[in-house]
């Protein structure tokens, strides 16, 4: 029998009823298990320390400690969990603060909870999961047609081809590391390449 590793999840949300609902949903789902839940932001870091979850589902509007501060504290850890921000607002503020604070994804409370489950699995497997609209917010207005590289993606591509790492690219362009990661992911999918080496080769071959 093959055993798939269970994804251990910590839930942090201001609304106790949301915690209760999500806990029931996740625990009923094969391969997912809730190891802790809290409404208090200042408890999250301690609970992560104690339970070592794979994924933290985090509402940015938390009591005690702000969600973005929690995120920053989690990022400081040597083995940070993946963080999925769960919010009621699909706006630029929510997206930007989630990305800048280093979240791995964003799920919406105005969508079916089923999508939150999918997003938990995706961030666990290493994907960045942001709504389609996030691209626009990050690129600013007038993002190019899908498939076409945006000016920002070209910049990232050139720096990547020059051998710079994501943190170095982030520093050079004055972006958060997570935003660079976001661009890199889009760049790979548009170029149809699997890694940085392939992307750099394509760049060297005259694009």
């Amino acid at each position: 029998m093959t055993s798939v590793r269970t994804i251990r999840v910590l839930l942090a949300d201001d609304h106790a009823i949301v915690l209760e609902g999500l806990r029931a949903l996740l625990d009923g789902e094969p391969g997912l298990r809730v190891v802790a839940a809290t409404t208090d932001g200042s408890e999250v870091v301690r609970l992560v320390e104690q339970h070592k979850p794979d994924v933290v589902v985090l509402d940015l509007e938390l009591a005690g400690m702000k969600g973005t501060a929690v995120l920053a504290a989690l990022r400081e850890r040597p083995d940070p969990p993946k963080v999925l921000v769960l919010t009621a607002y699909n706006d630029g503020d929510a997206l930007r603060s989630a990305l800048d604070a280093g979240a791995d994804g964003l799920a919406l409370k105005t969508e079916s909870p089923q999508q939150t489950l999918t997003a938990i699995r995706q961030v666990y497997s290493g994907q960045l999961v942001f709504p389609q609209a996030a691209r626009r917010w990050i690129e600013g207005r007038g993002a190019g047609a899908p498939g076409e590289l945006t000016p920002r993606e070209r910049e990232v591509w050139a720096l990547m081809a020059a051998g710079l790492s994501n943190p170095q690219i982030a520093e050079r362009l004055g972006l958060s590391e997570n935003t660079v990661k976001f661009h890199v992911q889009h760049l790979f999918s548009k170029l149809g390449v699997k890694n940085r080496t392939e992307a750099a080769l394509r760049f060297a071959r005259g694009r």
């Binding site: 609304h15 009823i17 949301v18 209760e20 609902g21 999500l22 029931a24 949903l25 009923g28 009621a88 607002y89 699909n90 706006d91 630029g92 503020d93 929510a94 919406l108 409370k109 105005t110 969508e111 079916s112 909870p113 089923q114 609209a133 626009r136 917010w137 600013g140 207005r141 007038g142």
Partner: protein
């Protein structure tokens, strides 16, 4: 300007700021209340739905309930938007306009060409709110009716007057006829129509002009006192 005019203007400004605060409160309350409740209820219901697979009739009912709640969430999303109020008190006018343009592009795939001077003077709260609401309505109209792929938004400041022009090369319409129809305007779906734009501008002592004809595109020009 006579002191009576001034009193009326000041009262109008207060009313605009007050009704905007009400609206913001509603948006925040909806997201903090019903949205959380419905999301939680959907989570619970999906657990039930899975447990009921062996009982086709009950399973189907649970599925129906899930569908209804998902629709309720979608309606809240469409009706009041998934966007936080723009923070009129703390953000400058150009940031608010820029945010609205991105929001429109995100929701519609229509391109917004934006021309805003780098440094706009800070303007009165009521003027900021009016520009935001007028622009929001004009963009929505331009999306619903023009058939154009892009809209142009131009903001300029001449002394104490702020000018907003929203234009497109779409199919155009007869403004007289539409304004006559909108005599008894409601706020259906949060939209207050051309007449609503006109009223808001008039309350602040601004001007309103719309130039359009079938096949000729549309240009809406609004001016408002900055202070």
């Amino acid at each position: 300007m006579g002191s009576r005019d001034f009193d009326v203007r000041a009262a109008s400004r207060r009313m605009i700021a007050t009704s905007e605060r009400e609206l913001q409160r509603i948006v925040l309350d909806m997201h903090d209340g019903p949205v959380q409740d419905i999301f939680a209820a959907l989570s619970q219901l999906q657990v039930l739905e899975r447990a009921l697979v062996a009982d086709p009739e009950s399973h189907q009912r649970a599925q129906q309930a899930v569908g209804l709640l998902e629709r309720a969430l979608a309606e809240i999303r469409n009706f009041i938007g998934a966007f936080r109020p723009p923070g009129f008190e703390r953000r400058p006018l150009e940031a608010i306009i820029e945010g609205l343009a991105v929001q429109h592009e995100t929701l519609t795939d229509q391109v917004v060409e934006l021309t805003v001077p780098e440094e706009l003077d800070d303007c009165a709260l009521a003027t900021k709110i009016a520009i935001y609401r007028v622009l929001q309505e004009a963009l929505a109209n331009g999306h619903r009716h023009s058939g154009a792929t892009r809209q142009r938004v131009k903001v300029a400041q001449y002394g104490q007057t702020i000018t907003l022009v929203v234009s497109d090369d779409g199919r155009g319409f007869d403004p007289k006829r539409v304004l006559a129809l909108e005599d008894d305007v409601g706020v259906e779906g949060g939209h207050f129509g051309l007449r609503g734009i006109q009223d808001r501008v008039a309350m602040l002592g601004g001007t309103f002009a719309i130039v359009s004809a079938p096949g000729e595109g549309t240009a809406l020009t609004v001016t408002l006192p900055a202070e």
